[in-house]
């Protein structure tokens, strides 16, 4: 009994962390300093110079939102949280809570391959934590809700490897050709989740 966690407290703790990360991301965008305080042209120009930061923020916002959705989806199928699930979840939270740093580095050095590698690596590790959590649940089926469709859970696990670490590392690889390819993949991964899920949802509700 001492080794079983209260599901609602683990969810509340995780939700708190996701909510804070998604909100902290905007703090990395600093107000620009211009000398002529009343020049609308200078301020507009300075703000437009922050475009890479806005894009980085947008990508990370949707990425964390998708992490939340995936987290929600997995935890809905979990009946009981043991030490293994707790610490694999903590690993996921570790990499997720780190996202503001590579996001800030990418915003400051958008054209630098080192910042693309860093961003892709952290995201791969975050996505890998999801895969490990799912793998653990497949091994310990007793922790899953009885209603869980094990077949589709296994398929989802394979997909989470493909559209997770594999996709992010592909983005890093393409970034060596041109940074824009990497940005496209990094933004494409969360968008893929958003739209693939909405489509399924619509077809179900028809």
């Amino acid at each position: 009994m001492n080794n079983i966690f209260s599901k609602s407290r683990v969810e509340a703790f995780s939700d708190g962390i996701f909510a804070i990360i998604i909100t902290l991301l905007v703090l990395e965008i600093k107000v620009p300093h211009i000398s002529e305080h009343h020049s609308a042209q200078n301020l507009s120009y300075a703000l437009s110079g922050l475009l890479p930061k806005f894009i980085g923020w947008l990508i990370s916002f949707f990425t964390v939102a998708v992490i939340w959705v995936n987290h929600h989806r997995i935890f809905k199928q979990i009946k009981q949280i043991d030490q293994g699930i707790f610490w694999l979840n903590a690993l996921l939270l570790l990499w997720t809570s780190f996202i503001p740093f590579p996001t800030a580095v990418l915003g400051d050095y958008p054209g630098n391959i080192a910042s693309i590698v860093l961003y892709g690596a952290v995201m791969s590790l975050m996505a890998l934590s999801f895969f490990l959590l799912r793998l653990y649940l497949i091994r310990k089926k007793g922790l899953l809700e009885e209603s869980t469709d094990l077949m589709s859970f296994r398929t989802g696990t394979m997909y989470s490897l493909l559209f997770g670490p594999v996709a992010y590392l592909t983005g890093v690889g393409l970034g060596f050709i041109h940074p824009y390819f990497a940005f496209g993949i990094f933004l494409g991964i969360p968008l893929y989740f958003v739209f693939s899920q909405s489509r399924t949802s619509s077809s179900v509700n028809h």
Copy 2:
């Protein structure tokens, strides 16, 4: 089943984000630096120079509080959260979590029309997300609580367009005449909500 979200977790996640944003706003107000550490006159003068920042903080605080109230009001009428509601809610959270940035820009450059345009644009997009969420719910009535008065929900939706994006863009337009007009509208919008609601509340409780 995989496409339905736990309402309590979505609410907790949203509440977390609202709570963090409303609290982060004050971090944009930095302690002033004065050379004579013990001069009360110098410190008072330096603090009074932060007045535009205090006003910006006050406006944003009440704006986020009103967003919370509107969010609470809509979600009380929602029975089930599907993918569509989730992502329109995420869009609302996206713009809301961005508020600290235009607030900080407005606090640093209160007389600059570019900062007024930025603030009004972000607020319009935030308010537009509310309108889109309501529009989606009108189209998918099955997601609303049975007790919902559809007639008044439709009226509320039209009002949310008028006292939301339309009002904010009007504020931006008047800001071209004088910044004070824009500030008046930006502060007036949340205050309108606070007092119009309190009045209704009083009349009901009589």
Copy 3:
């Protein structure tokens, strides 16, 4: 029905804000910069120079903890949250969320009477919000739990005026004689609450 708030969401929103403020306070204490990186003497000396900041942080931490306790105590007696309670609670959250700023100013200028006036004024306004919330509840008894002892609620309301705004303004007044008197009162107010409550608790449990 549209004018009644979900008590659990208002509590969760308020708890989120209290938790964030109490945690943000430490961010105002910056790591000191010393040139000789390995000199333990220099670092110890630089850290000891942060003593006024540590004391300011400690005072504000216990103050927010006491605010939480008082908030918890009042809300336990509230049956239903109407618009009036919500906005008086928002007023309390407004001043509470502002606390990190006067705390930082006090930490930077501990001997400056202007920073003592600012701190005392913000705390008085915060404490006044508690008083107004209690006054509103006395006027609208129907919103209180049936089990509430109205006599002791009225006494508590008078005490909240005395040990709140009156005590803080007294602290400000004594600060004109010497800053230490103000610090003593500012720290004494939350400590009074901590120990007076613990004592009552002990006598009840005997």
Copy 4:
């Protein structure tokens, strides 16, 4: 009745604080500034210079995660929260919310014994709060759940003194020989908890 706290609100408040602290830790890691924006070599070199900060962040992340686990474990056995438990819990939150500061100091001055003493002292005080909370519960058995095994609770209390304050102070002592010894102990303490618990969990589930 006025002296009994709602367990769910105290847990939510504590969870909020833990979630924020664990997330704020990453904010102490600042994006490095390099002059040649496109040099991958320069950026990689600058990032690798942040290694002590990454290690400090990692240690503090796992430490706060372990604090959460211990907090969860103790609170699962608590039936009723009185003033004593509340304020001993507040003491624990006080030291825990302070962790970002010694972590930042350790990250900036990893080789300076003063920063090791500061880190170890704060952690000892945090761990001591756990011990005091447990001691209080042993004295006031009536506040514990009936199902609590008092014998193992007493053993756990002694262990919490040994693997808490005693271990941290030992780490500080060894740090006078070489900083690496201190780092080893500081990282070893949370890792010990992670693995000792996982092992117990596995043996139970076999």
